[in-house]
Symmetry: C2
């Protein structure tokens, strides 16, 4: 019997893993934004000494993983798994990032939902007794994403107001069967939800229905009330997506407005930094969680947070073939108590 | 404590999940090969009524998942997770395949190692008490892979003798906390191993060191002897990669030659079908396992099998930027007893 299952899509961990350390690295633009004090490392430029943007993305992911392990005062040999993924074709940032680590590796793809996907699977692997230490990590890079999904950077193409700005950043979290918290206590795994959006410049709208679906299901499954949480933060719906998701969630009877925000909104100062609908990319919720939220949990400014990373599951090929953009959202409860 | 961990990279499942059903679909070429009697469904052409090869690949993956669930006499509502991935950019085959299912979904990317990756994570989710029923699935398609990774099909480009033929096929397996076997008893998770191979037409050589590494580690971790197994079958090393892997494994003191083969070798009649070094693609080990090996386990022709799916973790971008091709291999023990 699935003894740890509660409700339809949620798991309640019996031995909640502790997030014993994190590390975040962001690019210069993110490092000039409202959260700059919180990030562990800010790049001087978008190549960080590498020859290509892709190699830079892989390097910052590797560095984030290594530094998170170091911050946990662990040797790399003690780490039993790395669970990682990114936006690039065949998730090369992740595969190349772990190539020199010698740690068993599960590659994931959930688009921008990958941070919560890795925390979900990682926390079940710890709770289930399969590992004592593992790393969950992901990255994105503005330049690698732009040229892969949209246009050559050199084209200087105009961006519509609904578009989001892919975050250059990486985040890594070390989960342990021991530790003083914060703990991952619940995992709500998302379904693919396709609302029929075909506009590749409006990811927020494409992902919002999936985010709403997972958040509503989380409350149904757990029986939590809104005020059991200090913060509900989506991965990167941005300004437009957050508004749509909030409308869905409110209609379902959950008024989360007072404690609801989005990593893509928090990471940039839109007025000053001209990021249109806000930040996006796997590295958005990764760096905001690992850099910012984790520290607020550690110093007890926050005590229970619902992190929902959201992904748009399309490719340039699927869009060129006329397909809509399905979304997915995975949620994890991160709490200073094991309850 | 990680009570289910044995040795460095292996997990021994306390409540081994049962594979209660499988389903396999292959293309016309695979359906004309030596295993044709074993596949559950053979396509008449490589579009199966769809407008594009990509849509065809997604459709056969969706059909395989649905039919595996049907064969298990389950309703889709009973299935708690789908774990799936494929070779296409942003794993669109998988995301679109599960879009209409309404089942929580973890997207994976392990290149051609994905079938064993999904069985690895899936079996831990069942064993750990997080689900009673889930589906592990993956697919590939000759035409989608060729045009994404290599050349336009229409070019009719020459293929060197070391090249492999991407299998058009999909496989899905339903895992359950209950059932009469075969059971997944052990999971050995691979590390990324990079031997420096840069030839994108010699994937076998790129993946062989990773396969050898995982197989050797499996025997070290478990203490199994070679004759504890009836069959050791790699995912898709093909003729060249298998030879290299076998040499590594023999040098490490394990003579597996009598029971060692490869899905990429078994699926085609190379003499007649002109497939050069053999089959490859996520769908290769998926269709060979779900179509062939599973049936031999069910009728007790085989009683304990080590399935090792192998992946080459590169992209066209990484190769164009001069990177080598790292490999990975994940192994699962599938046995008619729970030991």
């Amino acid at each position: 019997m699935a003894v740890k299952k509660i409700g339809k899509q949620t798991v309640r961990l019996k031995n909640p893993p502790s997030i014993i350390s994190t590390y975040s690295i962001v690019g210069p633009k993110e490092g000039d934004g409202p959260l700059k004090e919180y990030f562990d490392f800010i790049l001087q430029d978008d190549l960080c000494g590498q020859k290509t943007w892709e190699k830079c993305e892989s390097k910052i992911l590797e560095d984030a993983i290594k530094m998170a392990i170091k911050n946990a005062q662990l040797s790399e040999k003690k780490v039993e798994y790395v669970l990682a993924g990114d936006l690039l074709n065949q998730i090369i940032s992740s595969s190349f990032a772990v190539r020199n680590l010698g740690i068993p590796y599960f590659g994931l793809y959930g688009a921008c939902s990958t941070m919560a996907e890795s925390l979900s699977l990682g926390s079940m692997l710890i709770d289930g007794g399969y590992a004592d230490y593992l790393v969950c990590a992901t990255s994105s890079h503005f330049c690698t994403a732009e040229r892969q999904f949209r246009f050559p950077l050199e084209l200087g193409n105009q961006r519509p107001p609904t578009s989001q700005w892919t975050v250059t950043g990486a985040g890594a979290a070390v989960l342990s069967s021991n530790g003083l918290g914060p703990y991952i206590t619940h995992v709500t795994t998302g379904k693919v939800v396709d609302a029929g959006i075909k506009d590749v410049n409006n990811m927020g709208a494409a992902m919002a229905p999936a985010a709403a679906d997972t958040i509503i299901q989380h409350f149904k499954d757990t029986g939590y009330r809104i005020d059991d949480y200090d913060l509900i933060i989506t991965g990167d719906l941005g300004i437009i997506g957050k508004e749509i998701a909030e409308e869905f969630i409110t209609k379902a009877g959950y008024d989360i407005s007072k404690i609801f925000t989005d990593c893509g909104i928090e990471i940039f100062d839109n007025e000053r930094q001209d990021t249109h609908a806000g930040g996006s990319g796997c590295g958005c919720s990764a760096s905001v969680f690992c850099g910012y939220i984790y520290k607020l949990l550690k110093d007890k400014t926050l005590n229970r947070v619902l992190l929902i990373s959201t992904g748009a599951l399309h490719s340039t090929t699927s869009s060129q073939q006329g397909e809509s953009i399905p979304g997915i959202a995975h949620a994890v409860t991160i709490s200073n108590t094991k309850e």
